[in-house]
């Protein structure tokens, strides 16, 4: 029943992948050809258009995971556990990319866009540690309701961690030497802002399409497992 209804309307996964491809293409084109070179930091500043959208996508993924975690705890619907886990998993991937692009950017230029200064980097590191710990937890518990419940609980503890981290870093500013800010306040000029938005949209679309791919894989796994269980019970 499931299979036939999926082919009746456009598969959301394919749709998302198509949208992502288009946006990615547009973003790449804009980043490399459209947006003007930054006066201060030179060509390497373009990394910013990758780094920040990827970072924001990571946060969005985490929020998505947390929302589904709450929904799971309230309803005990196992599919929600999967919907909480997959964004978390993608978050690790995007998080690693954030750290990598962040490192590249930092090395190439000493100036940093003010708002995202030290607070972001440190908070992100803490969140990334949390992501890894989430996976350790998940791999340590056997599959089943317990694993789903514990993952959801830990994810929600992580929700508490985010404001705590941001505040902690803010409150200890003395300890962490703020990187010197350049004169780019919160204003980017038109073309830069547009490029940024397109890149952000592209990253989000990429995350969404990866989500569908992974979900499909997991659903297939689950179906195989269910069939196996039925076969054994019938024996």
């Amino acid at each position: 029943m499931g299979i036939s209804s999926q082919s009746a309307r456009p598969d959301p996964g394919t749709l998302a992948a198509a949208v992502a491809a288009v946006l990615m293409g547009a973003a790449l084109a804009m980043i490399f050809f459209y947006v003007p070179t930054d006066v201060d930091q030179g060509y390497s500043q373009r990394i910013f258009y990758f780094h920040v959208p990827i970072a924001m996508t990571t946060y969005v993924l985490f929020a998505w995971s947390a929302v589904n975690a709450v929904r799971y705890l309230l309803s005990r619907d196992r599919s929600l556990d999967m919907k909480s886990y997959v964004p978390m998993h993608l978050g690790v991937i995007f998080g690693s990319l954030t750290l990598v692009t962040g490192a590249v950017w930092a090395k190439a230029s000493w100036g940093v866009w003010w708002y995202w200064g030290s607070t972001q980097l440190n908070t992100f590191l803490i969140i990334f540690l949390f992501y890894c710990a989430y996976f350790m937890l998940r791999f340590s518990v056997e599959d089943g309701e317990k694993r789903a419940t514990y993952s959801a609980v830990y994810a929600l503890l992580g929700v508490g961690l985010i404001p705590v981290s941001v505040l902690a870093v803010r409150v200890s500013q003395e300890l962490i030497h703020p990187i010197t800010f350049n004169r780019n306040g919160a204003n980017m000029d038109g073309s830069m802002f547009l490029t940024f938005l397109v890149s952000l949209a592209a990253m989000l679309a990429l995350a969404v399409s990866m989500y569908f791919v992974e979900m499909r894989g997991k659903r297939l796994d689950e179906r195989v497992r269910r069939i196996r269980r039925l076969a054994e019970a019938a024996r």
């Binding site: 937890l137 518990v141 929600l156 961690l161 404001p163 705590v164 409150v171």
Partner: protein, 221 residues
């Protein structure tokens, strides 16, 4: 609250956790003292204070890894869960007894710390340090009781608990060190210190609320 009494009584009888924690702290201090340079304290009091907080966190994790040990080893959960007691009360009791253990451990650790590290240079404000430690203890106890419950599900629980806890420990240590070290310099205003202590209080509150709300999911099978 009978549960808290029970935990304290158990500890008194078995003498497992607190002596281990106290010994661990002492050993850490010795290690740190030598690591920082036996004669002159390399990095000064600032480095030492940082290490104090690190030692507190690791010792807390050591203690927490045994938090639910007796319940687990003797399958007592079945007994406790079949009573009408609120699941969150189970968490609260464990958090309270952990808090007591932590305070006892620090009562031992602080004089040692003073002896080992504060003999030279300007010392940080002790009242602030004590206040910060108490607030941090509340946070560690709340969160730790939760995480100890989560970690007991796995076979690698002794390793898992530190892994789960460390991301949460980072903000705590960050601010703990900051509030303590800043009191060495006369330029630190009382407002700044209060702000940081306030953060520690907020940390404890947030995780106490989360612990209260979520523990029933940890314990229900």
């Amino acid at each position: 609250m009978a549960l808290v009494r029970k935990d304290l009584l158990l500890e008194l009888r078995s003498r497992e956790v607190v002596p281990a924690m106290a010994t661990f702290v002492l050993a850490s201090f010795v290690l740190f003292r030598f690591a920082l340079g036996g004669d002159r304290l390399g990095g000064g009091v600032r480095a030492a204070t940082g290490l104090l907080w690190v030692a507190v966190v690791f010792t807390a994790m050591l203690g927490l890894s045994r938090a639910f040990a007796s319940e687990r080893e003797h399958r007592i959960w079945d007994g406790l869960l079949s009573t009408p007691v609120d699941r969150s009360a189970l968490w609260l009791a464990k958090a309270c007894s952990t808090f007591v253990f932590l305070v006892v451990m620090q009562a031992v650790a602080l004089p040692l710390f003073w002896l080992f590290f504060l003999q030279e240079g300007r010392p940080p404000s002790i009242p602030v340090l004590v206040a910060a430690l108490l607030l941090a203890d509340a946070g560690i106890a709340s969160l730790g009781a939760m995480l100890a419950g989560l970690a007991s599900a796995s076979h690698a629980r002794e390793v898992l608990l530190p892994v789960l806890f460390l991301p949460f420990a980072v903000p705590l240590v960050l601010v703990g060190v900051q509030v303590t070290v800043a009191t060495i310099s006369p330029q630190t205003s009382a407002m700044d210190t209060l702000e940081r202590l306030g953060f520690l209080g907020l940390y404890a509150t947030i995780f106490a609320l989360l612990g209260w709300a979520l523990f029933e999911y940890v314990v229900e099978d």
